[in-house]
Amino acid sequence: MSTRTRPDHRSIAFGDWTMNPVEAALTAELLLAALACAVAAVAPASMRRYLAGIATIAMAASGIVAGGLALSGHSGGLWAPTALPTVNLTLAPDRLGGLFIVIASAVTLLAALYAIGYVHGAADSRSAWLAFILFTFGLQMVPAAGDIITFLLAWELMALGSGVLVLTDHRTRPQARSAALWYAVMTQLSFLLILAGFAALASVAGTTTFDALVTVSPTSTTGALAFTLLILGFATKAGLVPLHIWLPRAHPEAPSHASAVMSAAMVKMGVYGTLLVVLRFMPGGPAWWGIVLLSLGGISAVYGILQASVTSDVKRLLAYSTTENIGLIFLAIGASVLLASYHLTAASQAALLAALLLAISHAAFKCSLFLGAGAIVAATGERNLDRLGGLGVRMPWTAAAFGVAALGAAALPVTSGFVAEWTLFQSFIHGATRDAISVAVALPVAVAVVALTAGLALVTFVKLYGIGFLARPRSQGADDAHEVSHPMRWAALIGAGAVIALGVFPGPVAQVLASAVGIGDVATIGFGGLSLPSLGVLLDPMALAITALVCALPVVVVSALSARRHPRRATELPWGCGGARVSPRMQYTATSYAEPLMRVFDDTLRPEQDVVVTHATESRYLVAQVRYRQKLSDVIEVRGYRPLLEFVDRLGVVSRRLQNGSVHRYLTFSFVALIVVLIVVSL
């Protein structure tokens, strides 16, 4: 790679050779990635995790620096020529790209830190580490890409690395193979759609650099075609319904540090792509774009959280929750586009800010949740929530991190999720208008969808935390659990700390995000609170927390005084109607916790339920055994994908008659094809 030097007063000078800071950071990142790969390849097995982990952390740190510089407005980049005449590989992040580089790098850093303590066996092998490094490197290069070819190359690198990672445990878990297959197919589908969309854009623009692609008009047919293809491609990558099938399969199968990066950062690249399309390439899109994004996002949000609320597998629950969060982000982007098309600028900008706040909030809490889930699985050997319990006393640090991250996922004060949803609501409330029918219909429906999603998210995360960490263990594995190693703990705790920090100081954070997308009119007020002067609203979570503490103070004082006179007395058993058999098996499990919801939504979820009664041999009136089986599978997969796959299979069977191995038949095909070509050419 050659570096183009630019006479910039912000350059770094190395003697005669001046370098732009962004270029320096990107070059450092490239070199560190190469170093990390080398380390992973040659390090001895006992030291591999430490050396490769530290090298990856260094790469991620340089990524944060590069992204931060790009986000604060420094321009610059690297380019390299290719064999094609006008095509160069460009890495030139703008502010928005810088933001997403920071997100991706931060998540990579935490995952790499976690991996130092976590990886063992297949996940600690050379190929797994190489795959992880290449995956995260590609992940950080996607937002840095300045032209189509670089973007697609980085995209494929990301897909390849993560695909290999999904296969890591294939020897011990056979479902990893089918998960990897689904993942590979869906990711290639997304690649094809994105390629086609970019091709449509490039055909009008004439060149492949992003700066030139802005010439396509949003209202033209090419614009509409490009929008549809690109959005479908990015939606597949982001895991939106109905293209989400791979997410609940692939994310749980990958090792936990990879799952964290996939769920917290890789799906964000779908969001980044969508933002590229609606903000950078074709700003000012028509209203139907907003409606499409709103609908996609809304359906994904509700479906995702519904599936998450009834599933008992910890990692599958978190994967579906990712679908929900990304759905909310797309809903926010769609609302922004819709409101902008009707010139409701203030509300539109608030919606866009909400989308970005949701994105960083999701990165923080989802990373922490997946890392925590990995810790649980590593400590207990159980993935099924029905067999966990009592982990709060056995794994206090993990429980703390997990609890805070779950609060953030449920959007309760004072976390980042709360700030993000507040902003989204403000945009809905102040975007209400009588003049535009689509807005008047879409916004209340969006409010209802977000409210239902928030309610179901509450159930899901209360279930996850309550059943997993509280009360008593429901299996031997949970009983034997103990706290995990320091790198694993600290990675999850730092993520949880980010959730709180972003939630308590939303003002400065929102100002940075607003600068990334060119929104003005976002101010900090009070104790780091967020103020949107154009809407006339403000939110100061710190002040809210202080008020809550002031309210809690008299209660605590009275409690303390009362405790002195009537101290708390320990008793042996909780009240269980006077019985002595208070076994952990009597506790509610995750499946039973979700049962009322499953009954309410059974038309959407369509569980398969089976009751088999075995009678005693002596008499049909006596029952020897009752067996109850419930299976919840993804409705879209059962009713959408399976019939489609069967249809394709049948087509394949039919077409076997065309390709039956006979050379004569193939020669006939070639001959007919030549005749057709001759006819067409001579017309």
Binding site: R569, T571, L573, W575, C577, G578, G579, A580
Partner: protein, 162 residues
């Protein structure tokens, strides 16, 4: 029944509760915390349900024990007073002990009915462990087989002082 007919029924019925009898004298062992308000958890240690019917009447509209500050609750953790009826059977002896232990102090145990006091007609039964005082500490007793609601109320009022 429709809302209108229910309203007419209420108007016709008026007040069902009888006037309160004179306040009985306070039991001298009453903990200070329990004056004015007691929450009661009923435990059936093995009764014939005769005392339960009388207790049901005590909390019904005619005798209305709620006006004296007594209220029935579902969990012994919420309760101050345990009303134990019936002789203590073998199946219920451990449950009775656990229920009393589950009640926070200050707590009182009131044995209601002859069976609870001295096994009544079920003395020497094969499934009987003994009277309530054989199993847990009893603070107050209400005699009768079954005791009149007035007697039960007098015992409760001697605790609440209302």
């Amino acid at each position: 029944m429709s809302v209108l007919r229910l309203l007419q029924l209420m108007r016709r019925t008026g007040r069902v509760a009888e006037t309160a009898p004179a306040l009985p004298e306070q039991w001298d062992g009453v903990p200070a915390a329990l004056s004015g308000s007691i929450q009661i958890r009923h435990v059936d240690a093995g009764s014939c349900n005769g005392c339960e019917i009388e207790i049901g009447a005590v909390f019904g509209p005619v005798y209305d024990a709620e006006r004296y500050g007594a209220r029935l609750v579902a969990s012994p953790r919420h309760a101050d007073v345990l009303l134990v009826t019936g002789v203590v059977t073998r199946n219920m002896s451990e449950a009775l002990v656990r229920t009393v232990e589950a009640t926070p102090r200050p707590r009182l145990v009131i044995a209601v009915g002859d069976c609870a006091r001295n096994c009544g007609v079920f003395a020497d039964g094969h499934a009987v462990v003994g009277s309530v005082s054989d199993v847990v500490d009893v603070d107050l007793e209400v005699a009768g087989c079954p005791p009149e609601p007035d007697q039960i109320i007098a015992a409760l009022r001697s605790v609440t002082g209302r």
